[in-house]
Symmetry: C2
Subunit: 245 residues, 2 copies
Amino acid sequence: METFEESHQRRLEVCITPALFPVYYQSKDCVVVVIDIFRATSAICTAFEHGVSSIIPVSTVSEARAYQAKGYIAAAERNGEIVDGFDIGNSPFHYMDPQIKGKDVVLTTTNGTKAIERAKAADHIIVGSFLNLSAIADYLDKQNKNVILLCAGWKDRFNLEDTLFAGAVVDKLKDHPIFTGLADSSLAALNLYQQAKPDINGFLANSSHRRRLARLDLEKDIEYCLQLDISKKVPTFRGNALIAD
Amino acid sequence: METFEESHQRRLEVCITPALFPVYYQSKDCVVVVIDIFRATSAICTAFEHGVSSIIPVSTVSEARAYQAKGYIAAAERNGEIVDGFDIGNSPFHYMDPQIKGKDVVLTTTNGTKAIERAKAADHIIVGSFLNLSAIADYLDKQNKNVILLCAGWKDRFNLEDTLFAGAVVDKLKDHPIFTGLADSSLAALNLYQQAKPDINGFLANSSHRRRLARLDLEKDIEYCLQLDISKKVPTFRGNALIAD
């Protein structure tokens, strides 16, 4: 903390759950990277890679239903499963369908869209996943802003996979001259990522969400979400929707 | 999470800042271990080892002054320094003075006493530090309760040394049959501790609070606080005060 203030350098901090966002968000001059590896932000990155026009994140299932009634493609997930009455949840594989190309999609999920909602206090929000890790790091590298890596977590609790991704971003930016003097949250995430790096899936074997998804038979999704750099797009929040230009 | 609920086992979770305590505290049937390694809980453990009768934690400096006016020994620290008008802060060395033996001491600190205040929602609160690590682990081992390892952090942010201590407790309890299926926060803390274990002071070299204390010339305090198992006492909150019986 004080090191940043004293040296006028930029902060690079990991906020491990949306519940702590107000603690970390202290100035408008920042970029917030929303992270929900399993699976909302991985699905969002996949959708843009497959040509979706925009994604409107909403907090509640009833908001998603209202858009659905107006003819939007609407997706809703709660507790890892597609909500009744919707065809799409938050599996990245749902977003490879050619029918979403050029469309506006409305999305609500257990943690990811809630994190985006919380982040709306900030002017500058982007969406990250392992799928666009290098694109995110390159993007942040070109900004001259404080960075908050906002982990969606699990119902306001700490979760391992989102923190690992935050550590991966720290790993890429740690030598950038404006970010010297890492916050403790960034040091911890970096440290965990450096251990996990050789085998992220193995490292996550005992994590709670990994176990939860394994019970739901979502191994294929997990493997997909842990791929590195298959997209160069950086989904950015503008108005009420994410776009990637 | 779900693993615990499904198997009716006990939860062993790390709450990385007091701001998240309401998220983790969900049933009265738990023990909360308050952790503020640099330096409040290390000082508290030291005080009991040196014969203090009780420690009354208070949230504000004005409360501490009110007790001081009534003749209590009062200690107050803010931002690492003794508050004007007090003789004692939160250095463990302040609590080795023979004059505190048998006395009731009132204490307010930047983070530690705030964490205790937050934990008061629970019926069962104890105080941990590296100085009484094994005593804490043995104590928890004998309870049949959920455990919340509550890190005081730094002004509601994540901090590294408190999380490392939480990881040290997880390391001691992880093979206890009632705690199988660790929460992600416990896995992360355990992992960080296992890396740090061979040289905790070295591991903390770049941490924010370590840098803050080094600037305040408190190296001696840091080394003292990182000693293992020099006390077998378990300070426990009863009524409005900590005691160790």
